[in-house]
């Protein structure tokens, strides 16, 4: 049988990240022609119940590495577990989501296996021998690199969230679930997560959001972010900010979209009072649909925008919030 594709399905607090299921879907698409099994790995303290959910999205087998001591992520332990799985299964590729965890784990894993690594990929193809052609944005999205491994063995790839498609779930009662264990601790010095501090307030995470509403310098002050937050609430969207708004202290850095902030790929990105400097574009130019609201018709954001409104955001945004609310209420 052809060598499998291994997919790491990230979970936090017993909930799977969507991108893991997207990676399973992409692995099924790539491996289908060659009959490559898609084998998922899930790691945590109480994760066995997630196996059937993963299988229902297309994994043909699920390896469960469950241990009461694994409440938090550990790059060392997770690397050891995935290395064990890789040694046992000889996968042609290992897929992870390009999340905080995936982007931390993938380089360590690839260095331990001494194999190819492509981070934050937005398109993948697989040749008959299993070689992956990975497309990844570089230079803040100004260019894309198509890269290929020198040897098609254990190619480690992280997939950008919201870019690839997960399969529709269908019951898969036959997918075997097996335990994955490691015998000896390697005795290496380890960094240990002591605590996870939630941002709180039910804040939606930018990198996972389908819709983002962002505000910039045009808001004129931190108090006016409530216009952005109201529109976001009406749309069920996450709130973002430009570097100008973050540097002015209006929002913490965790809100920043752009070169020194987050890279996002939502279905819809609404930029309000953001001129769209190249540094901002680096973080959002792969959004599927972009709406720009700005007073300056020459702002660079209008070159990217699918739909633009040249106007005062203080007038336009509340009107937009009202219209969305009406629509959602079925009026």
């Amino acid at each position: 049988m052809a060598n499998p594709i291994l997919v790491f399905c990230e979970q936090r607090d017993g909930r799977l990240k969507r991108v893991g299921l997207e990676a399973v879907g992409e692995a099924c698409r790539l491996g289908g022609a060659a009959g490559r099994p898609v084998i998922a790995v899930v790691i945590g303290s109480s994760v066995a119940p997630l196996a059937s959910e993963i299988a229902s999205h297309g994994a043909s087998r699920v390896l469960v590495a469950e241990d009461a001591g694994r409440r938090y992520y550990s790059s060392e332990t997770y690397t050891a577990l995935l290395t064990e799985a890789a040694m046992r299964l000889q996968p042609v590729a290992i897929f992870l989501g390009a999340t905080a965890m995936g982007k931390d784990l993938a380089p360590k894993l690839a260095a331990r296996l001494k194999t190819f690594l492509a981070q934050d990929c937005v398109a993948l193809e697989m040749e008959a021998d299993g070689s992956i052609l990975a497309t990844r944005p570089i230079y803040g999205g100004k260019l894309r690199a198509v890269v290929k491994a020198t040897t098609p063995v254990c190619q480690v790839v992280t997939l950008r969230p919201n870019v690839f498609s997960a399969h529709e779930p269908k019951p898969s009662p036959d997918a075997p679930v097996e335990r994955l264990t490691i015998t000896a601790g390697a005795g290496r010095p380890m960094a240990v997560v002591r605590e996870v501090q939630e941002a709180g307030g039910g804040k939606k995470e930018l990198t996972e959001a389908a819709i983002i509403v962002s505000g910039g310098r045009g808001l004129k002050g931190p108090e006016n972010f409530k216009l952005i937050e109201e529109l976001a609430a009406a749309l069920g969207a996450a709130v973002g900010a430009s570097r100008a708004a973050v540097d002015a202290g209006w929002k913490p850095h965790s809100y920043q979209v752009g070169l020194t902030g987050k890279t996002v790929s939502p279905q819809l990105y609404i930029a309000c009072g953001i001129s769209g400097a190249i540094q901002h574009q680096a973080g959002m130019s792969s959004a599927r649909t972009i709406v720009a609201i700005n007073t300056n018709p020459n702002a660079p954001i209008f070159k990217l925008a699918t739909y633009g409104i040249v106007g005062d955001l203080f007038e336009v945004v509340p009107l937009l919030t009202e219209e969305v609310k009406k629509l959602k209420a079925g009026l």
Partner: protein, 267 residues
């Protein structure tokens, strides 16, 4: 505390980039280069730790990624900020590699230095891989914490507690030293080099190391050691032409909502 900071020289972020005639690299002619923005947080943090402890040494290391680049300038900038000495890894044999061979070279260089802490930026804004620092730590067999935006060093206990940005919150991570940390915006505000700093920097030592200095076999580095080959670079796919929705705000908003619902099918 001995701290080594690794910096990369990258094209200025506002640069217009063109693809070279061979198709697998950028054309570097006429570009201006800067210290990678995330690496400035690493340099600043190293200087602040030294200032806080009142003792220590800050060494800056940089690898020449391409013969057309002059990372000496980046090193002088860091010395002008206040670092004590600099090392340039300079050998044509280092070129043409990937993140893994870069990590291999850096790890070999670090093995020749004594250190308590290694600091890098969380990613270089050219390749945007965010992998080299983590791979260096793995090759050295020391722990790492990536994407750090707050750091406490406990010199006596030889530990560090770092805040690491994750989706929707932060992880508080404790690590024994020596460790490698990659730095994120928010950690500090990098200083500008002062004029006296710039003058002093000219007198500070800048060593140049090559492949033989760090004792690596040619087949482990450069194109020979790379796990990855760039097939081609390409511009991002063009975005379909957008349109400005005309009319008064109320009319335009109604039309926008209609388009988002009926054409883009998003709401």
């Amino acid at each position: 505390m001995k701290i080594v900071v690794c910096v990369k020289q990258v094209p200025a972020t506002e640069s217009k980039l063109t693809i070279s005639s061979e198709g697998a690299d950028i054309d570097r002619s006429g570009l201006s280069f800067i210290v990678n923005p995330y690496d400035e947080f690493a340099v600043e943090e190293a200087l602040q730790i030294k200032e806080r402890l009142g003792t220590g040494e800050v060494t800056i290391l940089s690898l020449r990624p391409h013969s057309a680049q002059k990372p000496e300038e980046a090193l002088r900038t860091c010395l002008a900020m206040g670092a004590d000495k600099a090392i340039l890894l300079n050998d044509p044999a280092f070129e043409g590699g990937d993140g893994f061979t870069t990590a291999t070279v850096l790890a070999a260089a670090f093995r020749r230095l004594s250190f308590d802490l290694l600091l890098l930026g969380k990613q270089a804004v050219d390749d945007d891989g965010g992998a080299v620092g983590i791979q260096v730590a793995e090759l050295l067999g020391i722990p790492h914490v990536a994407v750090v935006n707050k750091l406490e060093i406990h010199a006596e206990a030889r530990t560090a507690v770092a805040h690491r940005q994750i989706e929707g919150g932060i992880e508080v991570v404790e690590t024994p030293l020596p460790a490698l940390l990659t730095c994120q915006k928010g950690l500090n505000e990098p200083r500008y080099p002062s004029l006296p700093g710039i003058m002093k920097a000219k007198q500070k030592p800048l060593e140049i190391w090559n492949r033989e200095t760090i004792g690596l076999a040619p087949e482990t580095i450069g194109a020979a050691g790379a796990k990855l080959r760039v097939v081609r670079l390409e511009p991002p796919p063009p975005r379909p032409a957008g349109r400005i929705i005309p009319g008064e705000a109320a009319t335009a908003v109604k039309e926008l909502v209609r388009l988002l619902r009926e054409e883009a099918k998003l709401i």
